[in-house]
Subunit: 336 residues, 6 copies
Amino acid sequence: MKQVVTFGEIMMRLSPPLNYRLSQASSLEITYGGGDANVAAALAYLGVPAAHAGCFPDNAVGRAAAQQFQHHGVDMSHCVFQGQRLGLYFLEVGASLRASRIVYDRYDSAFANLQPEWFDWDEIFSNAQLFHWTGITPAISASAAQATKEAIAAARRLGLTVSADVNYRRNLWKYGQRAQDVMPDLVAGCDLVVCTEGDAEDLFGIKAEAGAENSFVSMSQQLIRRFPQIQQVIATRRETQSASHERIKGIAFSGGQYHETEFFDINPVVDRIGGGDSFISGFIYGQLTYPTLQEALTFATAASALKHTIHGDINLVTAAEVEHIVAGNTSGRLLR
Amino acid sequence: MKQVVTFGEIMMRLSPPLNYRLSQASSLEITYGGGDANVAAALAYLGVPAAHAGCFPDNAVGRAAAQQFQHHGVDMSHCVFQGQRLGLYFLEVGASLRASRIVYDRYDSAFANLQPEWFDWDEIFSNAQLFHWTGITPAISASAAQATKEAIAAARRLGLTVSADVNYRRNLWKYGQRAQDVMPDLVAGCDLVVCTEGDAEDLFGIKAEAGAENSFVSMSQQLIRRFPQIQQVIATRRETQSASHERIKGIAFSGGQYHETEFFDINPVVDRIGGGDSFISGFIYGQLTYPTLQEALTFATAASALKHTIHGDINLVTAAEVEHIVAGNTSGRLLR
Amino acid sequence: MKQVVTFGEIMMRLSPPLNYRLSQASSLEITYGGGDANVAAALAYLGVPAAHAGCFPDNAVGRAAAQQFQHHGVDMSHCVFQGQRLGLYFLEVGASLRASRIVYDRYDSAFANLQPEWFDWDEIFSNAQLFHWTGITPAISASAAQATKEAIAAARRLGLTVSADVNYRRNLWKYGQRAQDVMPDLVAGCDLVVCTEGDAEDLFGIKAEAGAENSFVSMSQQLIRRFPQIQQVIATRRETQSASHERIKGIAFSGGQYHETEFFDINPVVDRIGGGDSFISGFIYGQLTYPTLQEALTFATAASALKHTIHGDINLVTAAEVEHIVAGNTSGRLLR
Amino acid sequence: MKQVVTFGEIMMRLSPPLNYRLSQASSLEITYGGGDANVAAALAYLGVPAAHAGCFPDNAVGRAAAQQFQHHGVDMSHCVFQGQRLGLYFLEVGASLRASRIVYDRYDSAFANLQPEWFDWDEIFSNAQLFHWTGITPAISASAAQATKEAIAAARRLGLTVSADVNYRRNLWKYGQRAQDVMPDLVAGCDLVVCTEGDAEDLFGIKAEAGAENSFVSMSQQLIRRFPQIQQVIATRRETQSASHERIKGIAFSGGQYHETEFFDINPVVDRIGGGDSFISGFIYGQLTYPTLQEALTFATAASALKHTIHGDINLVTAAEVEHIVAGNTSGRLLR
Amino acid sequence: MKQVVTFGEIMMRLSPPLNYRLSQASSLEITYGGGDANVAAALAYLGVPAAHAGCFPDNAVGRAAAQQFQHHGVDMSHCVFQGQRLGLYFLEVGASLRASRIVYDRYDSAFANLQPEWFDWDEIFSNAQLFHWTGITPAISASAAQATKEAIAAARRLGLTVSADVNYRRNLWKYGQRAQDVMPDLVAGCDLVVCTEGDAEDLFGIKAEAGAENSFVSMSQQLIRRFPQIQQVIATRRETQSASHERIKGIAFSGGQYHETEFFDINPVVDRIGGGDSFISGFIYGQLTYPTLQEALTFATAASALKHTIHGDINLVTAAEVEHIVAGNTSGRLLR
Amino acid sequence: MKQVVTFGEIMMRLSPPLNYRLSQASSLEITYGGGDANVAAALAYLGVPAAHAGCFPDNAVGRAAAQQFQHHGVDMSHCVFQGQRLGLYFLEVGASLRASRIVYDRYDSAFANLQPEWFDWDEIFSNAQLFHWTGITPAISASAAQATKEAIAAARRLGLTVSADVNYRRNLWKYGQRAQDVMPDLVAGCDLVVCTEGDAEDLFGIKAEAGAENSFVSMSQQLIRRFPQIQQVIATRRETQSASHERIKGIAFSGGQYHETEFFDINPVVDRIGGGDSFISGFIYGQLTYPTLQEALTFATAASALKHTIHGDINLVTAAEVEHIVAGNTSGRLLR
């Protein structure tokens, strides 16, 4: 099978043990993650060849970050080791009514300072079938946005499928360009997008029609009209009960049809970081595997539900484990 | 008080910390357990003298396994130290809809290769009142089955009560004999058995009568008819909500009467391994202590519920702690 | 802002990791706490200057205890380092239907053996606005009771507000005086008390009138009649579902009016020790900050609810974090 | 083989991880030890049946202390569970020129408050060949001294060998009697003593003769003259280079002959606590096993050297491992 | 006693456990340190009131950094909480012939971006006797250099003693000014400097005279001639055997006299970070305590030697512990 | 650069923390290693492309083992996932005069049961320049020996260099064939061998000539005469001072010349497992990099010395770090 390729920043995540606060911690558990690389790693676990293109400082910290993704089976041979520092974030894990909190420390990272010409997309995509990116990457710096643009163009040229998690984060866009100016061009090159009504309104000024029966459908129809390359719009609906209890279902609009799954109940939540990345990776796997979108969507949602029980950013589950959930085995009986 | 004696394999259990997966673990928490030895250890905590007969490799690993049971007060003086390796299993602890998973690595263990003549049952039972075994032991090897048979015969001859958890595990029976051929003779020597409808059908071809009001009663009546030494059949009913949430009640059939307890709700589950072993040990304690079967059954079920909150295979609780639950104190108020 | 000053014993708390029992632990997590010092530390986190007066052995253990409170921003300069030992307690953390259990080992502590003259209250209160104590302190020893009495007298003389958590613990009163003889004089000097119906009956023989619509109001009215200095009586109502699930609301009686908050649901509970201390510290903060008692009470209850998600005795939360809960954000959505 | 029986206090030892100081520790590693019980446990590892008589509080802490010795194979069936608290000590482990430091917190322990009549020595010694005690026990309290006296008397009456580590610690003798008044009667009942020149001077006023060629021989001769029951006086000579580097040799005087071993070099020292206890336990084993005192002394010294490489108070080594050292294998080559 | 005040950056230090490399670590131990703040903390342990002025991001990470110094007794009330990030560094601890390695990640820290006017030196020094700074601070940014300059000027004006560790690190000076242009003005205001021959040559172009009997004396004489405010020049001489074995002695030039101490041998080294900071803090303490410079120098060197046995950047030792070493107790005998 | 390919078994290594013994451990640190795969991983760190061919059970344990080598950059795409179990070994880490001890549990591993035809050596070597194996592999099973034979034949046919660590372990050869019969054919196909005088005598009956000035030279000459394909014979000389202190030098015979390096002193040793594997990987790197054998040998020996300071089986060091040692920087000065 050909590779799925992702592009984006990988950060070190530092979190106090258990539910400790930073002010009482004498050690921090570390792992590494990024919204796009998490997709590559999850796909590798599901059995889909995956590669990630990124940029790391050429020191012990940057090397360790890349190695974790090698550990999980991602081809990191297209990564560049240049620059000063690895972006990082501190995560205090909440519980019950206390939310988890993130303190970002990612400015001036090696990735933010990448040069677009360091990435030879024709070579990177030489054995690829799909390119996936997230809206976080063009938010980081002008050069990151430029590289994303070039990657999408190359992917289209070479006939790859392009998917994106538009994932608008207002705080991130600080380098002088507006998401509203940058993102449309990029999204225009995509076949598949993860996009919520809020994202669509913030980024593209698309609002569900007043009185629409299904706001997601209304938004999706307008989005596809505006960006006709898009074939599929997907998202999750979350009913967040508490930091420890989550309910999710998957929704999709494609070919004029709306699809949704049942809700999956996750109680307790072990780690919610990367829940969205596991959804899109599950959907990509599902598209490659199942005949119907409904099956792909159900697989994606079950994969995302499972992710909430896995420590770290990456969905360390096999396809068989997801299928076990899809088959209705959600009662957690011991498997010997 | 005279001893309760158990016989069976003790394995090393290795599990990643918290809910980590093996692929992300850099250390494993270890403990030791076995379906029968867990009963001995739980009884020692409840104040009943207990001994275990088993077989371990004569190296640091085997010694450590035996020492853990000494730690918990089990008389290990009848154990034999011969053979190559200790059986072990890897446990990934699940959460919510993700089930816990076990990878066994127990073949060719010292216990599997025991020689029946290493165990002098007359001496082992010289100060005993009850012998308890589980269906796992005769599944391990022909010699283990033979030793079990000899132990039961000796126990009967010396007037001990014999109890068994029939616990049929299809995967285990690999040495050339069928459970269906081996188990009937062994069960025939028992006064008390833990047995579900599924076990009875798989092992003895006993099915609850179609249309029976209570399938457990129907099965138990047939079982007792077939094995008239049996006085009591007991089991737990589980309503497994998720890997983190369990509901259990105890059921029993004895003297023509059916008994059951209320459901106990366990949320969250800390560790479900050994839940059945704590039930039977609680029942043995209850029989020795209380005038009625109903009281013994309630004690057993409360003990098993408590076990679900204890890390490791063994029910590290005192009789007073179980009685506290039996008395209805299930709301978990702080005890100073 | 002037300081809030607390007085009382700080103990070392030793607990096995996670939900382990002492008999299986090879290490103990340590923290330090005391019912009054916890109030000082929580106030320091909320931004209110706080000082604590206490007594510690002059060794590495006593110094470490005091340092933890310095860590959290409490002025420990009025503490005395004399005596033999630090009181300590062992905590086994329960889960679900298994209650947490405490084994105290606090007799003959440095604090119990303090000399009242070691504390120069005029100096200690020179920059203070409020003095807070708990019913635990006079229970420890005659000299601790005497020092409490002198502190209250000085506080009144210097125009400080005085608050108390009456917190009657029968087991503690072992030095020869009865709580019923000692406490009335002390409570008589207070403006604000945390007191439940049970405390009032045990300590002061005050029972809610038969047939009273609201037993707390009835008790509070009698309490205020007996101790006319008291302006406010507050308490929490707990609906303890299990060791892992708690529901709490705040109640208050003041100026002839009864107030109560909604229930806050905490599931799972991370650590319930110090839940009451966080309530009173939240209330003191609220009184200093908000125009109405209802707002103070809501802040106090939300603070206490948050405490149940924090490891250790001390409520390591900022005012903004409590206000976030007060504003209704109890669903635990990730904060970036 | 008949048992060796020891009597004395077991304490919880709490130490920060690695070389951390208490003021920076958030957890403490725990183990349990006592100068006499350590001898019993080491003998159990060496294959000599061993029992310990002691006294513990009847709570989770006391039970855990006793269980650790059960773990290591010591018969704890003669222990009494009564009293308020377990003695404990905090250990900061030094390195290089920084010495390890102990903060004791052992007053009013369950052991200190034992009643001599709780121990039925005739029964305790019914299967014993040797009784061992240390000078710490009579230092703890009058009742502990009395129990020691009764134990020695019973041991003599029943024909047991009696050994003692006189181990004079000035700080401990606080209950009103002087070591100089109590110890002579106890030592008079011993066959074997560990005693240095310093101990002999402090306790018995025995000084090596001025100009004696060998002060240990001179002291031993006087000691045996004064206490003619004594057959053997042994001790270790230490050349302490630093907290991390120790050199020890064994010395003995018996039958008019002086014996000594080569020096053993221990660098680095892992844990020096219990070094003396492992020496005497090694000597007891050696006496039971080897024909000559020289062999026993060498075994004892090698055992003590090995102890310095073992974490905790107890010498967790087999006889074969000590013999490996005795045979000159001190270069630490990997054993597969 | 009046305070010693320090000024400079505090960073988070992140190191893998034991001697692990970053590429194999799943957690990092954290502590906080800074060349100047370490001096304040060490003085607080020695009993000298100490305050630190610094700048931290106003988030959980910055607060935790400041709290650690509060923990150790440093008055942090003059610190400013503004800016984006806390500087940090990764430390891999070496052993034997493998050197420890540091990866810095400190650019654009809150401290680097401080505004000099945030620090009101008259107020900060209102209760101070000595101001200490290091050559790292003016290397960080122009504004940090400016603030240092203002602090020195204020200190001189208010009659404080000024000390500096000139500590030239070439890599750090990246903001556009040269150390050689900035440092002379700052050093000109100092009474006491830590300065090696290498520092003097790099910073001031001062070379020991060719053929000088003692290069340190020659350098010091020239330094004092150039900066006549300087009364004392001190330094350590290191004979680094390996990452695990260090030998140090102290040297000083003052009043025309050269002083030196014996060598202290540290084997193994637990943690060498902060060795210089502990030397200068020991010297400041010594100056305040002892009549002679030789005594102060010996105390300083013993303090620094002890630091090498303490985990973390800060010398967590009391004056009595240093004096114990000064008195010659370097063999590490257990202290009970 | 073309790949170096290795072939052999990878085992899980389980060791108690620090210097703990198994009988006192409640967790085990895990890593994975194998004498040949360690060479591949070390080469990947040094910058040489490396692949490993092996066989693992297709479960979470086997996958985790392979992933660790992916983590370190080894191409694991030629590995086969079939079979029941992963071999494992327990390691107790010694200190000072206590040797480290290994308990193997490797029988019937997936690797032992491999089928030679699972490995298509032409494909595996399609991009390779060198094949490395060790004498452990043919010792495991007949099929492993057969696969090794086929690999060597293919390597020769395809023009690869072949290297071997003959590494004779008597205990391992248990499957019915003698090393003396199997090894000669395999060694005959090698260009480079690690072989000591002991190995040569045990395996090939080659003894150094009596009176030979240099026994290694004498052995090497005979070895090369017997196996004329061999160009180079290398080995290390160890002077093992203790489990914590090692001295090593490298020796080589090639082209009729003897070479040796200086001794490297390692004190303390962090982890000696894999010391030999790091020597041969360093030598392979050196051969590819340096013009002279002496340089390669020095690099190899320095690399092996560094390995003794690294936790785990694998030499996690870069070429620059080894060169730093080669350049004489063995005093461990902090690198910033």
